[in-house]
């Protein structure tokens, strides 16, 4: 059954009923014949007498003043939030997409996965917003000559390094000039055995089929007679920094 008050004929006349409704809604006294209706209205009002519900975290933050209220804009009484929601969400989505793309490129650049030119561009972009140095290749001439106080132990009293001794386990320690215990008896290249001699001892040195590309073993090359050039590389094609330029 659905309650519908469509048939007005069986009740109090309309004008009188409107007055009754006003009294019922306001909680004013009503004729005894309509006490039940007044009680109904009282019970409906009582549905809102419970305690305030527990606020959600978002509302709790607002109530605590931890989340900012909107500032007045213009002179409108109320600007519907829904009207601003669409464009705002689009802007947020676009911004988020751009941020993710930039983060992806920056991450790839930091990991060295990009071509050199792109890598340098990414490095420049990161330098502009971050104090972190992701590794330049043009180290200064005095790189490593200054030892921090933390490394030497000056800052906390713990014994550190003096910058001169090199551990035996350190790579290349045997070639350090001041590393007495690890210093070899004969400097590299002073054993009387030349690199040419050692090359002949390798399997490739005795295998004609292992001749380097571009060399045919009889001195003639495919136009490359410069012994200082790597195999297959044109003379003068090396850059000043020693890196090869792709031949074209």
């Amino acid at each position: 059954m659905t309650l519908r008050g469509d048939d007005d004929g069986d009740m109090t006349p309309t004008l009188e009923f409107d007055d009754l409704i006003d009294a019922v809604v306001k909680g004013d006294p009503v004729p005894e014949a309509h006490i039940a209706l007044a009680t109904f209205a009282q019970r409906v009002r009582a549905l809102g007498d419970g305690p305030a519900p527990t606020p959600t975290p978002e509302l709790a933050a607002l109530l605590a003043g931890r989340s900012g209220l909107e500032r007045p804009q213009g002179n409108g009484r109320l600007a519907p939030a829904a009207r601003r929601r669409g464009p705002l969400r689009r802007v947020v989505r676009l911004g988020l997409g751009a941020s993710l793309a930039a983060a992806g490129v920056a991450g790839a650049g930091a990991a060295g996965m990009l071509p050199a030119a792109a890598n340098n561009a990414v490095r420049g972009a990161i330098d502009a917003v971050s104090p972190v140095d992701i590794g330049r290749q043009d180290h200064p001439a005095n790189h490593g000559s200054v030892i921090s106080t933390d490394a030497k132990g000056d800052s906390d009293g713990e014994p550190g390094v003096d910058g001169r001794a090199v551990a035996e386990s350190a790579p290349g320690a045997a070639h350090r000039a001041d590393g007495a215990p690890a210093k070899p008896d004969t400097p590299p290249g002073e054993t009387g055995v030349t690199g040419q001699d050692r090359a002949a001892e390798t399997p490739a040195g005795t295998d004609p089929s292992a001749t380097a590309p571009g060399r045919n073993g009889n001195g003639s090359t495919n136009g490359n007679d410069d012994p200082g050039s790597p195999p297959g590389q044109q003379p003068g094609s090396a850059r000043p920094d020693g890196r090869a330029v792709a031949g074209g």
Partner: protein, 188 residues
């Protein structure tokens, strides 16, 4: 509706403090109106009336700096937001859940019929069931009038109807309730 004062005559001061972000004022606004908003949303069959109430007050507090008016206007604004949130929730869920029917309400067991609390509970259940069985427009009007204490004009603005249409809906709704109470032994 004149005469309803949930701020002890201090609404203007509370509003000013709330607009400057004072937590005590925001809390006071919530404490004053959240129970009736929750009651309205529950009576309308909201799925999560408590959470929906929080959503309403998030919208209210975020925009309170732009509000101008008295307590009646503020209450009307809050219930307008509550009603729109309710419609949003109904659209999101696709349909309106049925509340307890009148027959079910009558079957609520009462250990002792002379106990006032049990009778009051039964009466409350009947009231909820009766509201649920009203035509939706009539229910909207009666609940906003009685729970929200909104005037006919404020209800009309909240529902997007004319004042005349609201009066007609109100009249029919109350007639339906009166008729049901006359036909049934309502334990109010």
């Amino acid at each position: 509706m004149a005469g309803v004062d949930r701020f002890d005559g201090e609404f203007a001061a509370v509003l000013e403090a709330a607009q400057s972000g004072a937590p005590w004022a925001l809390e006071r606004m919530f404490a004053a109106l959240a129970p009736v908003v929750t009651g309205y949303l529950r009576s309308q069959g909201a799925q999560e009336p408590e959470d929906l109430t929080s959503e309403v007050f998030v919208a209210v507090l975020r925009n309170v700096v732009r509000f101008t008016g008295d307590e009646a206007g503020f209450r009307s604004w809050v219930f307008t937001i509550a009603h729109r949130r309710l419609l949003d929730e109904r659209r999101a869920h696709g349909r309106r859940p049925l509340l307890t029917g009148l027959d079910d309400a009558y079957r609520v067991p009462a250990p002792n019929e002379v106990e006032t609390e049990a009778a009051r509970h039964l009466g409350t259940e009947w009231v909820r069931a009766a509201c649920d069985r009203l035509a939706p427009d009539q229910r909207d009007v009666l609940l906003l009038r009685l729970l929200g204490s909104l005037t006919v004009e404020e209800v009309a603005a909240a529902l997007g109807k004319s004042a005349g249409a609201v009066k007609a809906l109100q009249r029919r709704g109350f007639r339906a309730i009166a008729r049901a109470m006359a036909q049934e032994e309502v334990p109010l």
